[in-house]
């Protein structure tokens, strides 16, 4: 996933839940690096949850998740997860 695609997913997720979005997992590195490693470009998924109401992660799945029209249209998607999902030790959670 390219940096602009990552930003697109996060903005779209924020729009769905009207909340700040926390990104976890490998794609969180986009918050740090403008030129992420090539391996990240293959991934189509960003793991996210809403900061204030994490239980609304399901709304993100419903609107722009795997198999959604968003996914079909752009080729990438958000995966709503819970804050308890293990974080990458290096990057950790990244608020956007």
């Amino acid at each position: 996933m390219k940096p602009e695609e990552f930003e697109h997913v996060v903005r779209a997720a924020a729009e769905v839940v009207k909340d700040e979005i926390v990104v976890i997992g490998s794609q969180a590195v986009h918050g740090e690096l403008r030129s992420p490693p090539d391996e990240l470009l293959v991934s189509r998924e960003v793991d996210v949850y809403p900061r204030s109401n994490p239980e609304r992660a399901v709304d993100i799945d419903g609107a722009i998740g795997d198999g959604s029209q968003f996914d079909a249209t752009f080729g990438y998607y958000a995966h709503g997860v819970g804050p308890e999902t293990p974080r990458q030790p290096l990057q950790g959670g990244r608020g956007v």
Binding site: E4, R11, V42, E45, G65, D66, G67, S68
Partner: protein
């Protein structure tokens, strides 16, 4: 089929012609029994679709569907017609959603339906209510280790498997082709999907709806996005959440 290129311009009033052409090419491809002809027709379809772009502004969509923008906005707000937030932050309608609706409208108009768009959306709702039945799509007891995302993907693909036809399979093949060309899928999964999508439909259905560790991994890179409409997908996501919570 031979059409002058200038009819494919998405500018001005040629949009309607471009969508008409897409529908005719899809119909011709589905009716063709020659794989080479089908492939060429679909390539032409994709070329025209590419000139339109992935999404359309609501004003253009309301003209294409023959409804007021107020009516369209109401359906967009309720999520009955899919919309997506573009990278530029605008709310637009996916091109493939418009193709799907226009095809549906054509069938309903042929049957003499009054207010065909409202009828099409009503049919969608009814289909979602009738088909998103987790009792049928998921194991009665959720096996340990299944995450919500895996269950959603399993239910989604079982529903896709039930509806699988040449049109859906061709869409998946085209999407996979694009992903491979743009490096959006790992070569290992690309070759696995190529193998699966070369199988007869019944075998494809079996492979995508299997509940095995391998199939669960495979579904994470599935090219079958967009087969269910938004209403059905949301019903499915919510139903899985309820199942896990209960």
């Amino acid at each position: 089929l031979c059409y002058p290129l200038e009819t494919m311009s998405p500018e001005a009033d040629d949009l309607q012609d471009a969508f008409d052409l897409i529908l005719r090419l899809e119909q011709a491809a589905n009716e063709s029994s020659d794989p080479a002809v089908t492939s060429n027709l679909l390539a032409a379809r994709d070329f025209i679709a590419g000139t339109i772009g992935p999404t359309l502004k609501p004003a253009a969509v309301s003209r294409l569907l023959g409804v007021s923008q107020t009516a369209l906005n109401r359906w967009l707000e309720k999520g009955e017609i899919a919309s997506v937030r573009t990278p530029e932050g605008r709310r637009e309608v996916p091109r493939d959603e418009v193709v799907d609706l226009l095809e549906h409208l054509r069938r309903l108009r042929a049957n003499g339906a009054a207010r065909p768009l409202a009828a099409a959306l009503r049919e969608r709702r009814q289909t979602a209510e009738q088909t998103v039945d987790l009792e049928r799509l998921l194991p009665r007891r959720v096996p340990r280790g299944h995450r919500a995302a895996e269950l959603q993907a399993l239910a989604y693909h079982r529903l896709v498997a039930e509806r699988l036809d040449d049109d859906i399979a061709n869409q998946a093949r085209r999407r996979l082709h694009t992903w491979i060309a743009t490096g959006r899928i790992h070569p290992k999964w690309a070759s696995e999907w190529q193998r699966i999508l070369s199988l007869p439909l019944a075998r494809i259905a079996k492979e995508i709806s299997a509940d095995t560790p391998r199939a669960r991994e495979l579904r994470q890179t599935s090219p079958f996005a967009g087969v269910l409409n938004e209403h059905e997908r949301r019903s499915l996501v919510e139903a899985v959440e309820r199942r896990l919570a209960g």
